[in-house]
Amino acid sequence: MHAQAPAQAFPMTGTPDARTLATGQLAHEATGGDLDAFEELVRRMQRRVYGFAYQHLRDLDEAHDLTQEIFVKLYRNLARYDAERPFEPWFWKLAANTTINYRRKRVPTPTDQSADQATTGPESGFPAHDPALIDALAQLDPAYRLPILLHYYADLPLEQVAQSLSLTVPAIKSRLHRARALLRNSLAESEEADQS
């Protein structure tokens, strides 16, 4: 994925099958009122968006709600999408903003809960295969967790993470370094605790 070709790189002839279009082109079609294109866009993005929401919230129901909110917000904001520009950075910026606002609305957040609850509790509903890392991520401030998830989990290049969070690339690099250092310290502490 990464950098996407602008929508204009795929000239339209007639009404092509939505399944054959790139995400940017699907967004362009959806902006014109094509609900099939929008549905295909949701279908293509759902796994990454849901995974991102789940890793951020560590709760299946909350992840479902957030994912749905992101896609509904995408639909309502499609008119603002500039088809001259790549779709993914624009989309992830919207997703990041929705996530930040969603967290503000939630009381309490999972990071307020204990690390044990965040990783293996019944509210998680999904077995963690790297519980130490998940504990460490849960304890991370959202300002650090978001760039980490966008870069390493959603697989966005640094430039797109920077655009998504309205920061410069050096600022994102610095935030990622700091986040990784915090995770590393947290992992070292949990290893020490396991050994003692």
């Binding site: 094509d34 390493y152 250092a181």
Partner: protein
């Protein structure tokens, strides 16, 4: 260059692992490398730093619920009931509008309506001052007034339904889903 302290090395581990330190400050990068050879604690931290991005990428998430796409699509689709109600209201509006137009029926009707209203108001004023009995208002005028009030109420309700529909559907998006 003298050896680096552990605290300093740990601050530099991320840029060192990313290769940025080698590019910006090769001498310090060499000092970090030398330190790692001799310090087992920092070596462990270095291993964590190297493995962390891979562990992050390997994080697993549950598959999205099968109902997710349908849920999104139903959230954005106009509510059929509200849509039907919005269209259905056009019928009484058209009937009331036609009745009012038939009653008014052009310039003559409008003039007659205005003069009738003026006479009725005058009659009411005389009745109020006690100089004349209560005027009798024609039944058709009462019907017209009732039709006008009803039309206004239905139109206001219609507008509220349309406003709700507008919140559901993005301004530029029109329903043209292909079968």
């Amino acid at each position: 260059m003298t050896g680096l302290a552990c605290a300093r090395v740990r601050v530099l581990l991320e840029p060192y692992v990313d290769g940025e330190l080698e590019q910006t400050d090769p001498e310090t990068a060499r000092a970090v490398r030398d330190h790692l050879v001799t310090c087992s604690d920092c070596r462990r931290q270095h291993q964590q730093t190297v493995s962390l991005p891979f562990r992050m990428k390997a994080l697993r998430s549950p598959a999205p619920p099968t109902t997710l796409v349908a849920g999104v699509m139903s959230s954005i689709a106009p509510q059929p009931q509200a849509s039907r109600a919005a269209w259905g209201l056009l019928v009484p509006e058209a009937l009331l509008g036609a009745f009012i137009l038939w009653y008014v029926s052009g310039l003559d009707g409008l003039t007659a309506l205005a003069s009738g209203a003026w006479v009725n108001l005058q009659g009411l004023a005389f009745w109020g001052s006690g100089t004349a009995p209560l005027p009798s208002v024609p039944v058709a005028d009462v019907l017209l007034l009732g039709a006008f009030i009803t039309l206004t109420a239905i139109a206001a309700y219609h507008l509220s339904l349309l406003a709700k529909l507008d919140q559901t559907v993005a301004p530029r998006l029109t329903e043209r889903r292909r079968a």
